[in-house]
């Protein structure tokens, strides 16, 4: 069964990581390198165990475009999110024997290194959701 681990972040989080002047907390180069190393070795373990399916990171919400219907016509809006709004920042799809195993993999992310004060007020979380693999599953 496939499970998607969803990671979230706001424009403010992205700005802090990208070292934007005035963004808090200021991530140093070492902070960024530590995070990249952590994520790489976390995923490498999943690849090694043969449970990795796909992993993608998304660019900052400011690069997003929303297409919505306005008066029956599609209208495009650039970067429609508020600074602090949490949006999907990336995902990892794993193929595991059980939901518990997928959750176990996701829980290791709780040790993600970050500079002090980088965690937003809402605390830290990721979501794990089973992937609907076929028509039967999605209609069940």
């Amino acid at each position: 069964m496939k499970y998607m681990i969803l990671l979230f972040g706001s424009q403010r989080d992205y700005d802090a990581m990208a070292g934007r002047p005035g963004a808090e907390p200021a991530w140093t180069g070492e902070d960024v390198a530590k995070l990249a190393e952590f994520m790489e070795s976390w995923w490498a373990e999943v690849v090694e165990s043969g449970e990795a399916v796909d992993a993608q990171g998304l660019t900052a919400p400011v690069h997003a475009r929303r297409v919505q219907l306005v008066d029956g016509a599609p209208v495009v809006t650039d970067g429609p999110y508020a600074e602090t709004q949490e949006v999907l920042a990336g995902y990892n799809i794993v193929d595991c024997d059980s939901f518990d195993r997928a959750v176990e993999i996701a829980a290791r992310l709780a040790g993600t290194p970050h500079p002090a004060g980088a965690l937003p007020d809402r605390g830290w979380y990721v979501d794990v959701r089973p992937v609907a693999s076929g028509a039967e599953d999605s209609l069940a």
Binding site: M17, A18, R20, P21, T28, G29, E40, V53, V62
Partner: protein, 419 residues
Amino acid sequence: MLPAEIEDLLRREAPRVLGALVRRYGHFDLAEDAVQEALLAAATRWPAEGVPERPRGWLLTVASRRLTDLLRAESARRRREDTIARRVLPDERLAPAADRAPADTDDTLVLLFLCCHPALTPAGQIALTLRAVGGLSTAEIARAFLVPEATMTRRISRAKQRIAASGIPFAPPDRTEYAGRLGAVLRVLYLIFNEGYASTAGPRLARTELTGEAIRLTRLVHRLLPADGEVAGLLALMLLTDARRPARTGPAGELVPMAEQDRSRWDAEAIAEGIALVTAALPRGPTGPYQLQAAIAAVHDEAGCAADTDWPQILALYEVLLRVDGSPVVRLNHAVAVAMVRGPRAGLDALDALDAQVRLGDHRPDAVRGHLLELAGELPAARERYLAAAARATSLPHQRYLHARARRLPGPDEPGTQA
């Protein structure tokens, strides 16, 4: 022979054996499976039993036998399925062309022409080249491009199917299309190098396995076509660019611009080889874009420090390059050279002219504009451009570099001195 030497030998022979097999029997897809099995047999047996006297002959015999088995199974299956549409082998349909290469031509080159055939998509060309000519496993290629193995498997089999379906012959291109086909091969090699060097994905700036493989394959083509100036030019360009890699990132993986790089960390051996290659190729003419870019890279690499860079010569080379390649990236670099020779104002004017005609759609024009405004002393404006460039950049190292440049400059409300 050590296992590593055997592996080198196998990787060198793999494209030759595959090429010879496809030339004799057609069936690229099955031939590739047969060669993979022959390589596997060699990899398991040679370390223990010793390398045979004629390794290529051994591989060819084993692979031919395996291919015969596969073809037999295939034709039995086809009969069972009562397939009416029987495929005619290209060799049977066409008489050999008059200028067909003699049999002793290295089949590696013909294999490269096949893998980089214009009928394939660029992604397919790249994947097939790395697999069939480079001898990398599908898993290795998938890892290098940061895509799941299943995706890469599909990409490779789609490319193979397209070759089978379109009946592209396994033969060197004729004289009329030779230059274009070689151009496609060089473009694929350049894309592989660039994917490794400029790394469009992931937090890391360079993926050395791809640059290394691109250089190895280009070296191979250069050995096969030593008189071709553009092949030599591309190899020189790769060597001269890759030579700076050790100095291109700081301790935490941050981007270090060329002007601030510690040049003692550049690879002197690669620079010497690249300069020798381009120096030998240039007078032979005609001068193509790869030679010109290599010549520009050579001028940069020859300077002992950034201030010693011979910018007038670089500008002259860009003027020539513009005549054969007027792409936005070349024009952007030309504008930088103009600024370094005639001052930042002249460079900014060149940028204005560029902006009016083309849009690159990425962070580079803003980054260059920021740099030139900084040189011109317009610090708040420069800061604004750096921030705009950072907002457009999608890679974290680029964003962090541009933000760091902006942070050193005063904002619009604080027209003080430079920090």
